[in-house]
Symmetry: D2
Amino acid sequence: MTLSRGRDVLAIPGPSIVPDRVLNAMHRAAPNIYEGELIDLTASVLADLKRLAGTDGEAVIYIGNGHAAWEASVANILRPGDKALVLATGRFGLGWAAIGRQMGIDIEVMDFGFTGPVDPAQVEARLRADPHHEIRAILSVQTDTASSVRSEIAPIRAAIDAAGHPALLAVDCIASLGCDRFEMDAWGADVMVAACQKGLMTPPGVAFVFFNARAAAAAVDCPSPYWDWKPRTKPDVFYQLFAGTPPTHHLYGLRCALDMILVEEGLEAVWRRHAVHARAVWAAVDAWGAGGAFRLNVADPACRSHAVTTIRVESGDGSRLRRWCSDMAGLTLGIGLSAPGIDPEGLFRIGHMGHLNPHMLLGTLATIEAGLGALGIARGPGAVEAAAQAIVGGGGSAADATSAGLRQVTAARLHG
Amino acid sequence: MTLSRGRDVLAIPGPSIVPDRVLNAMHRAAPNIYEGELIDLTASVLADLKRLAGTDGEAVIYIGNGHAAWEASVANILRPGDKALVLATGRFGLGWAAIGRQMGIDIEVMDFGFTGPVDPAQVEARLRADPHHEIRAILSVQTDTASSVRSEIAPIRAAIDAAGHPALLAVDCIASLGCDRFEMDAWGADVMVAACQKGLMTPPGVAFVFFNARAAAAAVDCPSPYWDWKPRTKPDVFYQLFAGTPPTHHLYGLRCALDMILVEEGLEAVWRRHAVHARAVWAAVDAWGAGGAFRLNVADPACRSHAVTTIRVESGDGSRLRRWCSDMAGLTLGIGLSAPGIDPEGLFRIGHMGHLNPHMLLGTLATIEAGLGALGIARGPGAVEAAAQAIVGGGGSAADATSAGLRQVTAARLHG
Amino acid sequence: MTLSRGRDVLAIPGPSIVPDRVLNAMHRAAPNIYEGELIDLTASVLADLKRLAGTDGEAVIYIGNGHAAWEASVANILRPGDKALVLATGRFGLGWAAIGRQMGIDIEVMDFGFTGPVDPAQVEARLRADPHHEIRAILSVQTDTASSVRSEIAPIRAAIDAAGHPALLAVDCIASLGCDRFEMDAWGADVMVAACQKGLMTPPGVAFVFFNARAAAAAVDCPSPYWDWKPRTKPDVFYQLFAGTPPTHHLYGLRCALDMILVEEGLEAVWRRHAVHARAVWAAVDAWGAGGAFRLNVADPACRSHAVTTIRVESGDGSRLRRWCSDMAGLTLGIGLSAPGIDPEGLFRIGHMGHLNPHMLLGTLATIEAGLGALGIARGPGAVEAAAQAIVGGGGSAADATSAGLRQVTAARLHG
Amino acid sequence: MTLSRGRDVLAIPGPSIVPDRVLNAMHRAAPNIYEGELIDLTASVLADLKRLAGTDGEAVIYIGNGHAAWEASVANILRPGDKALVLATGRFGLGWAAIGRQMGIDIEVMDFGFTGPVDPAQVEARLRADPHHEIRAILSVQTDTASSVRSEIAPIRAAIDAAGHPALLAVDCIASLGCDRFEMDAWGADVMVAACQKGLMTPPGVAFVFFNARAAAAAVDCPSPYWDWKPRTKPDVFYQLFAGTPPTHHLYGLRCALDMILVEEGLEAVWRRHAVHARAVWAAVDAWGAGGAFRLNVADPACRSHAVTTIRVESGDGSRLRRWCSDMAGLTLGIGLSAPGIDPEGLFRIGHMGHLNPHMLLGTLATIEAGLGALGIARGPGAVEAAAQAIVGGGGSAADATSAGLRQVTAARLHG
């Protein structure tokens, strides 16, 4: 008998939970696409996307998904035959590399494995060994959604500069934008790609490419009218922003999501919230690991994503656990993804990105606790309590309550 | 700093969480109220409400709330000056009594306190002491939302019959319908009142009165055209069902909610789910109580509601806890309600009625755990684990998974 | 073959079309009913309802429909046996009278027929003939939804004053509030009743009673706790505003509707818009009537509602036309309602209240034109053109376009 | 003063009006993208898209707009340097040609002007003049959204065959799919492109490419992983269907729209409805033209789109009219689009595609009537009446009413 008759919750690393308000914003009549509100709204969305990315450069919205953004970024800065260096820390760095290869780019992968970040020293060494600057671009993910490894971006820029190399630095923030701190201009990224269905809390359907003046100057003649970012950033007419019909309802959804992030909560607070939630997940996994096979895929907390956590278990236990949580309790966890030398059956993932509060996150951890019990999987005690403590320590202390706004209680003592 | 930026959740004892599907069903253009779909839909809603109540009698939908249903029931079976016996187990029995008194009814209250159920023997004794049958009706709540005491209804009927007394038995199922087992005809209730915003998972706005042939025969000339149940059950024209304009959108919402309860899950499964969730709450409170002041208001599990749990704490701790959960974690708990001799500050309540799965319930308990930690309130360990175990023991065992439908996994190994 | 596959439209005199924004506002999670946002929102709704009614008196929201408001108003100002004078101009005045009689009030009806307004002189004469002031209250509808007759309210007050009579004046604005000008305090109404599903554009479910200090002073001991307006206007605790659980989602819907009316459009503009739309309907009917049996039920334009128009046709033609429009074209027209001496089959009604623009109204008139053609019903030509002209003359002249806000055209010349 | 305070309506040639039910279907929690319902739903959507297209070939869904589909189709069948013949009847044929040229294709345009269809004889002659079969593909629009010219597709196939030429025939049905009859296999189209926001009534965001075995056999090595249709039609894992994250909410919307088209109304009835509505528009324009400059851009009814109508007016009148309708009456009309020798200011367009019934269409025409009057633009009389007659003649005759389902009238005579 299933008890799963309430609201299903997704704790996968994207698509993430869509706020009711975003859904409401998208629940509207088709707007005029020639004039009026939509035109202004689009301008404001583009401006706020840049704020979110930390850049004064350009922002482009593609109707597409993360793979579309990968391809769009490559199509604008690399020609077939050009050389690019991909810095991989899991499945998604390798995925971007594969896209590039299919497009005819001469891709060289520096694989940093599945459990740790990019090593800037190795990048610098490689660039020093490229005296003729054949490497036109370096592609790096900030957070690899498969491994949950998070790499520092500024040191990669420093390594490139130290090597005196002109290569462009392109960063995949698909799984990190709006979750982990990212500052495009300050950190020296030239290109950045992202999508709407993770930290931006909007149903999948649009993806983003940001680029700065260096990237614009280095851009190639794009062979694809759809991916070409030039008319999309210097449009004569509105429709060029989207190479045709705009994604009307997604624009309304994004407007709402950006208001929630930038206006209501504030970007610094969003990042801090994600950090606290991440620490709660880590505390639970550490507690489970004290009495069983559980462990965090990434040992060093400084290199862990704040948006997704990959967990190692006995092979097969991840699938059993996911099945139980889904069938019995209304919780969908993320599957393990394969990588060289990695058995996906020995992994599962918890997404903790976007529209999340302690109730939702602790419910996820407590449901896993129940599932482990139901399945007789060995584990240490006190995981949920440890997570609860991390929540308290990280942000939810009583002393902070005042800042949350002490709403006046108009008591309603009689009726329930 | 608040972390409460995801979906707020209500764990109050009504209004309960509205399923997205019910909201969607209510998100529609105004229908024709003269002919077509709405007419048929209303007939089906009335029929299914009777199934839910376990009666072949009549069902009436009032645009109103629980208090409206209280008043409507009284207005149809009692005249000013008539005598009625109210069996109280908390604030809401007393509330029904107060309504009756304001209407001029000669109300006598048998108060069974705040922590235990109606005692049928005392009812029988009282009726035997009424040889002239002055008592026209007995009003009893099944579950008192304030105390979370649940009384058995069939033994009350047996007591009335044993006393050979003709009084009507009217039951308040506002907090129990669709949560705790209730069988109107089998248990011998003559009148039953309920509302839509608890087990029926619909926004507040309509309330119900059910009655059988005995009640119809004993009905008085109702002085209120609005409360009068006669034209509402034998209408010449559709509008009489609602004494005027029908509650169009609520009818669509109810249709959806009834489908979820009766067709998709099944009423027996709904009741079992509520029982399991209730046991999970009790297990958590028992664990907390092992190291602190926490205890369940109702000692005997057989007399506890499956829809709401009242918890005793140190005076003031309930309010502090509720505030923390609301401000920090997106969780709204139920306030304590006063009753004779009861300090509402020494209580709080958890609603676990309606649209609920283990993820949501365990999230609530784990959030309370975090709040207790943040506030430094003494408590025993292992509460959430105990609740998780109760979930597993009660319904979510792995062996049951098959019956939940082993959905085919179309693996999506690469992308996350 | 039906062509009715687009969005059905209601042109009945209530429930009226619900704006998408109101539906969106109601599409939300259940709120906390004890504290926070809902408390403040309710206060603002009550304040704005008073602005809408033009009163500094009290406003009460009942979960109920128009009949509930009728009963509530009577229950607070009249006791069984009290005498009241009902001024009837159609079915709904008679309906209010019938409600009063069932409640035991000694109702006297002054029936002004089905095609013209209340005559204040007759009212004054009747009151002069009541030297002992046995008449406690005068009940009058502003607009009778059945006949579409609209009566002037201020002259009725003047008549009462001229007679030096202390009777309360209660007015039914169910079909007129938010459509036709109404100024409660300025016009001297003591009590006013209305509901949400007409000019207020919200799904049926709540109704309103407004009253001034005179009515408060004259109020009786209300025998019904639910209708009693006293605790609802001087509540100790929030729940008393609604005698129990509040109509949560309707409050959000009302908040949105009131913003649309009072903030965005402005009440004077709302009234003017309704006047223009009404004149368009009249122009069309006059044109049809030039070649057939069509005529407006109310001859004098000054006595016609701006919210609903009752149209006389050959007996049976109304039903045939309504059927054709509904089955073939997605348009629901209002049925004719019987009254003494009136054959409902010789009537149909067009509702033009609330959320309406020229596109919707002209679509309704042009669909009727099509239906008349399909059914071979004789009529004059040029009806829709006449209506279009009335629109233009009334508000949509080109010179006005500037005030509508000349939105910048960002031309999108290439794509369609 | 604007009267535009009801529901705005779009009568542009796409995005078209989104049915409330489609919006409701998209208003839902994010689904699991790895297993369960979404997988099955996607399979059913693909199958039904093929039914809609009339093909047993393959269907591919791209997250993208119409331009994306244009590019995807070219990228799979043509290499840079390959020769293709574009048959243009307006702006959009030229647009597809421009896309191809930017992709490096050797595009030759046969321009049939702005007011008439493709001439198959000329196509045949051109192909006979290509003895070495250098032309790899012929690209033709069925309906050009700018000119509203509709060309016959089967004769083009016949011309190709008559010339004994192996060129692939690719057809743009973006503005016609689900509006005008199209039978991909029967008519011999090898490739077809479309999008969701016109006849499919879904917010913009996904586009479609269909192809048959001939096209599959002739497909080139696609240089773009995103456009490559091969992994999308023979996926090993689900995510390959969309080259990454699926367009979750659009899939739910499409499922609903396809049910409305294929199950509830039936494709033949959908086509017939569009034909009737188109004839109503033509009748109105003809009537206006009798007294002014109005005329239909396409003289021959057999060559007119059933989804969009381009109308010629005095230069500037289109813009003035569009402005008035939008500002005053809540109606958005389509702008004129430039083409060689065509002044866009001398055009405007009415979209009549998708979710449309006579009420909506007649409202559009009557609003235009009002606007012409307000602006003093000369025109003939009786336009709306002529349109109404066309509605009746085309489908809405009384004799047909029975088939619409004679719904039982449960009369509600008293209340309005």
